[in-house]
């Protein structure tokens, strides 16, 4: 084992020095970055390298090393940056013509053409695990080897961008030839190849010496600034911290806010704080049979929640308070909402509305939550806040699967805690909860309202995705209080001196190989 890896390193050094103009020799220091390794701690198991499997947390963290998408988002809802594709033009309302580079080769040397792109999308649609991004594609027409037309079945804002930024592109023949469908031996176009994957433990990548893209056109996230990248799976937040402190890893994500003081302004460490696009929300059960069919009662609960205090207890105050049903990071979030009242904490008003709703002596409700540490704490905080307003809360704590099953059953709960986000716009966040087409004529929480549906559809359409229309939905949702956005937290990423600049994708994940390193620290 050791011999072969030594050999690998040696051959890498040779090839890097002789063949590659892009090899990174740091000036002054004699460190060849192609020989170096960066170790990154992540809390979730990547579980599989299959390109189109369910997008679990651990997978999102690592797969950008091996696979590339048509475009990378600059940020959520932001510009599209070329990756596999070099550019696009919109032909009509629903048709986009995309051109891809003509020199793309995967790590096995197979050229990638428009046919492979079509195959990749069709497989993703057929497998159905990443339906959200691609179910808006009606069909694709291959024009020539480097040109493909995408025809959409909707004019929804963000449909094209979403489709372009989530589907890994692979070679058709290679994929079909592998009985394992790349689950353990992925072949992609990315700048790294996978060496070893120990499920539940670690995954390692080595820089390709035949990466197809030229240095000047290279996508930021496709840069390969170091020879080896190893991701270690460490599920427990406190141990993630220990791993970084003890030098086991160089970068660690999802540092608990209670642990940030170990890295902030500490010699040898750096801390990056990225606000989460994931908002903590509650959704009321608006089924006519439920107590929360009463708008006053819903509003009473909203007023009884002190969002700032929730943020303080759950995220140690790191993050922000929601001003709509979703976080403010999206491009179509209207800054003026920040200045307006969004059920700001008001205990008297809560009591008043409670009485108006017909419960002057208080009421008992069932709050459903998943058993993640954050939501468990949040449920307990909400319990004590609501009880102060005369609303007695029984907490029903289930695992994630049960929550996802029970949320479709109006008899199981009165309200529940969830976190909501989207890849592009705040309007999409609303859509995922309140679109009445997706959930058989009702919103996700069993509410029926044709006017709301019309407003939402107008705001979602790319042609009418205007400030005015978005505003209309926001105010309607605010008045109805079907759900209530509470707060959003912060992702903390800590790293040591070996890293000088993190490469972070739009989902706020670190792309290890694309980070910029500090060669002196490797000496």
């Amino acid at each position: 084992m050791r011999k072969t890896s030594m050999f690998k390193v040696l051959s890498l050094v040779l090839s890097a020095a002789v063949l590659l103009p892009g090899s990174v020799f740091a000036e002054g220091s004699g460190v060849n970055m192609d020989e170096q390794t960066v170790r990154i701690a992540i809390p979730f198991d990547p579980s599989t390298m299959e390109p189109w499997a369910t997008m679990g947390d651990g997978r999102i963290d690592v797969i950008r090393h091996v696979y590339e998408y048509m475009f990378d988002y600059e940020k959520i809802g932001g510009d599209l940056l070329p990756s596999i594709a070099s550019g696009y033009e919109q032909v009509d309302d629903t048709t986009y013509r995309v051109t891809i580079y003509d020199n793309i080769k995967d790590s096995a040397g197979n050229p990638i053409t428009a046919d492979d792109v079509k195959f990749s999308y069709e497989s993703t649609i057929e497998i159905g695990n990443q339906a959200i991004g691609v179910n808006t594609i009606d069909h694709m027409d291959v024009i020539d080897d480097t040109t493909i037309d995408f025809v959409f079945n909707t004019t929804a804002a963000g449909a094209f961008a979403n489709a372009m930024t989530n589907t890994a592109i692979v070679d058709k023949e290679a994929y079909e030839a592998d009985p394992d469908h790349f689950a353990s031996n992925p072949v992609g176009t990315g700048p790294y190849v996978m060496d070893e994957f120990i499920p539940g433990s670690s995954i390692s990548f080595t820089k390709r010496d035949d990466y197809w893209q030229s240095e000047e056109d290279c996508a930021r996230l496709s840069e390969a600034n170091i020879g080896h990248v190893i991701y270690k799976v460490i599920p427990e937040a406190s141990q993630l911290t220990i791993a970084l402190e003890s030098g086991d890893v160089d970068i660690a994500y999802y540092i608990a806010s209670s642990d940030t003081h170990r890295f902030e302004d500490v010699e040898g460490f750096h801390l990056a704080a990225l606000p989460k696009d994931l908002a903590e929300v509650i959704l009321f059960n608006c089924d006519p049979s439920n107590v929360f069919a009463s708008k006053e009662l819903r509003q009473a609960v909203c007023y009884a929640i002190d969002s700032a205090a929730v943020l303080q207890t759950v995220y140690d105050g790191a993050g922000g308070v929601c001003k709509t049903y979703g976080s403010p990071l999206f491009a179509d979030f209207n800054e003026k909402w920040n200045e307006e009242d969004y059920y700001d904490y008001d205990a008297d008003k809560a009591k008043e509305l409670l009485a108006q709703a017909g419960y002057p002596d208080g009421i008992s409700v069932r709050l459903m939550t998943d058993n993640s540490p954050v939501h468990t704490r949040m449920a307990q905080v909400l319990q004590s806040m609501l009880s102060a307003a005369g609303i007695n809360v029984e907490i029903l704590s289930y695992d994630g699967t049960l929550i996802n099953t029970y949320r479709f059953d109006p008899t199981q709960f009165d309200l529940y805690i969830a976190n909501k986000s989207s890849f592009d716009y705040i309007t999409s966040v609303w859509k995922f909860s309140f679109d009445q087409v997706a959930y058989k004529g009702k919103t996700l929480n069993f509410y029926v309202d044709e006017d709301l549906q019309k407003m939402l559809e107008t705001a979602l359409d790319a042609k009418t995705h205007t400030e005015e229309n978005i505003d209309a939905v926001h105010y309607a949702l605010k008045d109805l209080a079907l759900g209530y956005g509470i707060c959003y937290g912060t992702n903390y990423i800590a790293y040591n001196d070996k890293v000088s600049e993190l490469a972070i994708d739009f989902k706020t994940r670190v792309v290890g190989g694309a980070c910029i390193f500090n060669p002196e620290a490797f000496e």
Partner: protein, 316 residues
């Protein structure tokens, strides 16, 4: 003897079939829809329905059970994980060694410490040594092993920084988990050894050995301990079973990618093939260990061996 082993091996088959049916049935009645876990929280009802159809979750109990039994017992195929599409048996084989290592070294550790502790207690019956040894073992048996694990992490990994807190790799990664896991085993083995020794010490042949003027040490280790070991072996085998279970909890403390963490996450995701496969493997190991213990029994105690051979002869 071989006939006996063969018979026992054959008897394992109905048990394993029973385990498979049992665990399948348990999972069948478990509420929670795997499709929701695969597609995430933004999926629409139609997409969920399509996924359930694809996974065959809409079929009746007997159709699904039949399909699963056929795959397992005719094709030795445990299916693919719902969540990541990987082969379940492959995943189990990559995780099983970690769990086995912990259970095995814990039991070895437990025997190494537990037996001498039990001997000390028995030979000093009702004296200070006995009380101390038994108190230690009582306390040992009373501590939750995952809590001991946490305490060991605080002390040895965080304070002293002698050993790594989590993960796998070099042997030193296994020291803390094995130590935490061994504790309960040490205690139960020490107690078993003590009572076994006490019973044997009163037996006639020990009295004979003593009266022959053999040294006390020789009496204890040669004659008494050998015979006292028989119940210890059963106890150790039982402990191995519970260690396999206990290791599952310990794994979550030390973030070890073993069967326990695999099973817990599979349960949380309703990944039926993964749960069924891992319980099957645990049951298989456990049954094999029990068989080995029975054989070891025969090896230690010639009387039992004679019995088996007698039985076999009659059957012929």
């Amino acid at each position: 003897m071989y006939r006996y082993i063969l018979k026992r091996l054959l008897l394992m088959i109905p048990v394993l079939i029973g385990v498979t049916i049992l665990i399948f049935t348990i999972m069948y009645f478990t509420p929670g829809d795997p499709a929701t876990q695969i597609l995430g929280s933004n999926a629409t009802l139609e997409q969920l329905e399509a996924k359930r159809q694809e996974l065959g979750l809409n079929d009746s109990y007997f159709v699904r059970l039949g399909r699963y039994m056929k795959d397992v017992f005719l094709h030795f195929d445990f299916g693919n994980s719902y969540i990541n599409g990987r082969s379940v048996s492959k995943d189990i084989f990559s995780r099983y060694p970690q769990t086995f290592i912990i259970a095995f070294f814990s039991i070895a550790f437990a025997l190494l410490i537990g037996i001498p502790l039990g001997v000390i207690a028995a030979t000093n019956q009702n004296k200070l040594g006995d009380h101390v040894a038994m108190l230690i073992s009582l306390i040992g048996v009373s501590m939750p092993n995952f809590w001991v694990g946490l305490m060991l992490v605080i002390w040895f990994a965080l304070e002293l920084k002698w050993l790594p807190a989590t993960g796998i790799g070099a042997p030193r990664y296994y020291v803390l988990p094995c130590a935490a896991c061994a504790l309960n085993g040490i205690a139960s083995i020490a107690r078993q050894t003590r009572s076994g020794m006490l019973e044997v010490i009163r037996a006639d042949y020990i009295v004979t050995a003593r009266s022959k003027g053999q040294t006390e040490n020789k009496v204890i280790y040669r004659h008494a301990l050998c015979n006292a070991l028989i119940p210890v072996v059963t106890s150790a085998a039982g402990a191995f079973g519970s260690l396999l279970g206990g290791a599952l909890v310990i794994e979550t403390v030390f973030a070890i990618p073993g069967l326990g963490t695999y099973m817990v996450s599979a349960i949380n995701n309703r990944d039926y093939p993964a749960i069924q496969g891992s319980v099957f493997f645990v049951a298989l190991t456990f049954s094999i260990i029990m068989l080995l213990v029975d054989l070891l029994y025969a090896f230690i105690d010639p009387r039992i061996k004679a019995q088996y051979q007698g039985n076999a002869r009659i059957k012929v």
